[in-house]
Symmetry: C2
Amino acid sequence: MARAIIAGSGVLPGLLLQAGSAHVVRLSGVESDPLDAPDIPARFEQFGALFADLRAAGVEELAFAGALSRPAFDPSLMDAETMALMPRVAGAMAQGDDTLLRTIAAIFEEQGFRVVGALDLRPDLVAAEGPISGGASDAQLRDAARARSVLDALGPLDVGQGAVAAKGQVIGIETLQGTDAMLRFVGMSLPGSGGVLVKRPKPGQDLRMDTPVIGPATVMKAAEAGLTGIEIAAGSVLILDRDAVETACEASGIALWAAP
Amino acid sequence: MARAIIAGSGVLPGLLLQAGSAHVVRLSGVESDPLDAPDIPARFEQFGALFADLRAAGVEELAFAGALSRPAFDPSLMDAETMALMPRVAGAMAQGDDTLLRTIAAIFEEQGFRVVGALDLRPDLVAAEGPISGGASDAQLRDAARARSVLDALGPLDVGQGAVAAKGQVIGIETLQGTDAMLRFVGMSLPGSGGVLVKRPKPGQDLRMDTPVIGPATVMKAAEAGLTGIEIAAGSVLILDRDAVETACEASGIALWAAP
């Protein structure tokens, strides 16, 4: 069975490649690391060509991995399949990231490809419920519960994979700009807050298409922002390099744990 | 009937003073503008003394106005009434701003004072539903609806008097740090977004104690953050200087309107 990884930026495509035989789809204009696997070059404007190339390579299973930037789209390069899909994709875009990603997954599934996710291919990279590094204080657990209540309320609106609370107050809510931007905001506007970052998927989010991840950089940025703890969702947030994450937690005094 | 304005920073205390005969309570450590009214000096540590001073001045009605910073609190200065109130105030603080403000209002009411708000004293300063400056486009109204849906979802959690959406995406959600901090975040992380700021009270918020306000500075900060529109709640957001607000809107190309 041949599998293709649709490669965005970061280390995730390489981690998924380790799960077994795979081609790497590289989209024009999307940065991705060099990987030891046969390339299938592709363009956002030419879905028809990509479907044909995947079939020619015997690909039956697809995984999307890493951040896909949205490069310039040149309408003059569109093939017929892409043109036919445009109204559907544009409609989905207007309804938020979740809807867009579900639509893209559905489009590939209708073409006969099985779409799997990082959690399917690397279940070894998620954390079970419990402490990962250090121990959480009662105050940290209360702040985590407060941040989680915000994410629960926003989930149905397709907003928010992360939130920060400190001393019972909500001091950061992730928006389109992402977790790193939220952490910079918290660090600049309330330095030394001692808060807790909660990172978990939105309820109903298609985890195959958009897997929340943390890595050593997340820990360092949380520490730089003056936080003291990170709570991730057990079973559904990928830890990119667990050894390095634990080292970063110890070096920066961040407590890290997984909650149901 | 004597009234006292408990004065925080900004122009609001002066605007409420114009509604009629009033004393001004100045809390030690809280900055407030000079005002043409008899002062009643007070301290956060000495609520008992404040109750007595208000009664001695014949005060029957109280209005809180402007931002009250939280100055250093010196436990050694506490009078007996303040000590007795501490468990209640500390418990309320842990539950968020709304609960704290409701508790403070209740404490003064139990002492026999009537607590009124800016909307009671200056109903002339709120906007009726409709355009205030310029006209909102359909895209701006859609972004406003998206931002409003976030505020509606967060309201029960006592989070969020403001949110920003652009092109259908949520790009800013107000947290403890306030509207200005959120606007700086939006401007730095997504310059030129063309988004819309929605500012409205939280559902169930005690408007007497915490009246959402906008002024010319709000308009200029929204424009600097790359926004193109502001929607406020009709009847419950105070416009601090309507002429100056309209001038700022015209100068910066910001559309401003009030929605139900």
